[in-house]
């Protein structure tokens, strides 16, 4: 598990209100884990904790073997993150956006240029490098954010509802691409509320009201029925 993501006993409260309760989750390297939950389940809170925007008093998060509480910089250096909210600078070019992020991870000069070219190539966006980010459509903006999240070669890729607002074809393409990244060795945690983004072989954790109410491979959890039915049954039963 040294190269993957480990969460154990993680809880978080907003004042008196519990947002996450005793979360246990492991995503090994080379695995795509879908974190499926309805709106308000606690997915974004979990992502804020994983990226150290918040700090939890209870529980442990290990990223590629580094304890996020004790070695935050080493742990953050191994995370690539795509937030639900767009974080591109629309006034800058695609390349300049990538170089800015590379610099935040200590990469500059030729090394950063090469990495930017490499990740754009990987996302089939090399020809868009000099365009302002504003010119990109929603799908390409998301692709660019994924490219950016890969520029420092992270071990763990976190994506918080990355397909929100995209059309079906683009969602399919992006989901497929991130599955390929997992096949190539990344540990991927993909938060979503859309069951059609989960493949039967994916690791799946269903989050509802701050608790993981089911965990396993999607195929095992679904059984003979559909994932959507199972998801609705679990979240409605818990409600």
């Amino acid at each position: 598990m040294a190269e993957g993501l480990e969460i154990s006993g993680l809880s978080y409260r907003y004042g008196a209100k519990s947002a996450l309760d005793d979360i246990e989750l492991s995503v090994p390297a080379g695995r795509f884990c879908a974190l499926l939950g309805p709106n308000g389940a606690g997915k974004s809170t979990l992502f804020a904790l994983l990226t150290r925007l918040f700090v939890a008093r209870n529980g442990m998060i290990r990223i590629a073997g580094h304890d996020l509480a004790r070695q935050p910089r080493a742990a953050l250096a191994r995370i690539g993150v795509v937030f639900q909210q767009p974080t591109l600078d629309l006034d800058l070019t695609v390349r300049r956006n990538l170089l800015y992020f590379a610099a935040l991870h200590g990469l500059s000069g030729r090394a950063a240029d090469l990495r930017a070219a490499e990740v754009l190539e990987r996302l089939n966006m090399a020809e868009r490098a000099q365009e302002p980010a504003r010119n990109l459509n929603g799908g390409h903006r998301r692709r660019m954010e994924i490219a950016r999240a890969l520029i420092h070669r992270p071990a763990v890729l976190l994506l918080d509802e990355p397909t929100v607002g995209l059309d079906a074809a683009t969602r399919l393409a992006i989901t497929g691409h991130v599955h390929d990244l997992a096949d190539a060795g990344l540990a991927v945690l993909w938060a979503t509320h859309l069951t059609d983004e989960v493949a039967p072989g994916d690791q799946l954790a269903i989050l509802h009201r701050g608790r993981i109410c089911a965990q396993g491979t999607a195929r095992d959890l679904t059984g003979a029925g559909s994932l959507q039915d199972r998801f609705l049954a679990l979240t409605e039963a818990a409600a």
């Binding site: 150290r52 918040f54 909210q85 800015y100 610099a103």
Partner: protein, 262 residues
């Protein structure tokens, strides 16, 4: 090394954004220029100014408010760049910044330095336009004013950053204008000397004296004439340190912003 790479990237990004956004550049300059060319022209006759340091002769009202308007640029820019972080689009970029594998205080100081850089660019352009209009300071003043305006920009940026981290309900910029910017600007020596205010209302004059913006303006005013106003420097440095510490505290992931929903 990686710290400096990040600092340089944050400065570069802010400069590119500022220079790329023509509207922002024009708006930033129009505000003080309107004050200088319209407001000051109208008030010139109404306000008699005696000789006070650093001036050695009678001065026009335009000359008096020139440093105050430099302070105004730093005030608006510092607050705007920091407070824009709480709005959706910018909050995203702030999140990205804060997930960088560097100490958070360094990232926040880099952000402040970037805001200061933009303030300095605006102040330099504003003073250039004023000089073309005939409002000139000694040559040494143009050099000395840069660190003074830089420090003022840092202080006001830090104040904005502190507000953005500690105040949860900033509905819009207008609210900040009413409750922070206008009181700070009008309760200062930017538009009138404090002795004038004291004649009218001693209590308000006292407020002007404790307002850190007054000290920032006086620091700029003296620097513009090649002089160092030590008390003003001391108060401005102190306020910068306090506001910065509060901002770093506010952005500590275990404290300030933790109560804000993701």
């Amino acid at each position: 090394m990686s710290w400096l790479i990040a600092l340089r990237a944050i400065l570069h990004r802010e400069a590119l954004r500022f220079l790329g956004q023509r509207g922002r550049l024009v708006a930033a300059l129009v505000r003080p220029l309107v004050w200088l060319f319209v407001f000051a022209a109208g008030f010139r006759a109404a306000l008699g100014l005696s000789i006070i340091p650093p001036y050695q002769t009678y001065i026009t009202y335009e000359t008096y408010i020139l440093p105050g308007l430099c302070g105004m640029i730093c005030l608006f820019n510092g607050m705007q760049s920091s407070l824009s972080l709480v709005y959706d689009r910018e909050m995203g970029s702030m999140r990205l910044l804060l997930t960088a594998p560097l100490p958070r205080w360094w990232l926040l100081l880099s952000k402040l330095a970037a805001g200061m850089l933009v303030s300095l660019l605006q102040v330099a352009l504003f003073l250039g336009i004023a000089a073309l209009w005939g409002l000139r300071a000694p040559a040494i003043g143009y050099l000395a004013v840069l660190p003074a305006a830089g420090l003022a920009g840092l202080m006001l940026g830090a104040m904005g950053l502190m507000l953005s981290s500690l105040i949860r309900q900033l509905e819009n910029f207008a609210g900040v204008m009413n409750f922070v910017i206008f009181p700070m600007f009008f309760l200062s020596s930017a538009l009138y000397p404090i002795w004038k205010m004291r004649e009218a209302n001693p209590a308000l004059a006292r407020l002007c004296e404790v307002n850190p913006f007054t000290h920032a303006v006086e620091l700029i005013r003296f620097a513009l004439y090649g002089q160092l106003n030590l008390p003003a420097l001391g108060w401005t440095v102190l306020a910068t340190a306090l506001f910065s510490a509060a901002a770093v505290w506010g952005y500590d992931p275990a404290r300030g912003v933790q109560n804000r929903r993701a």
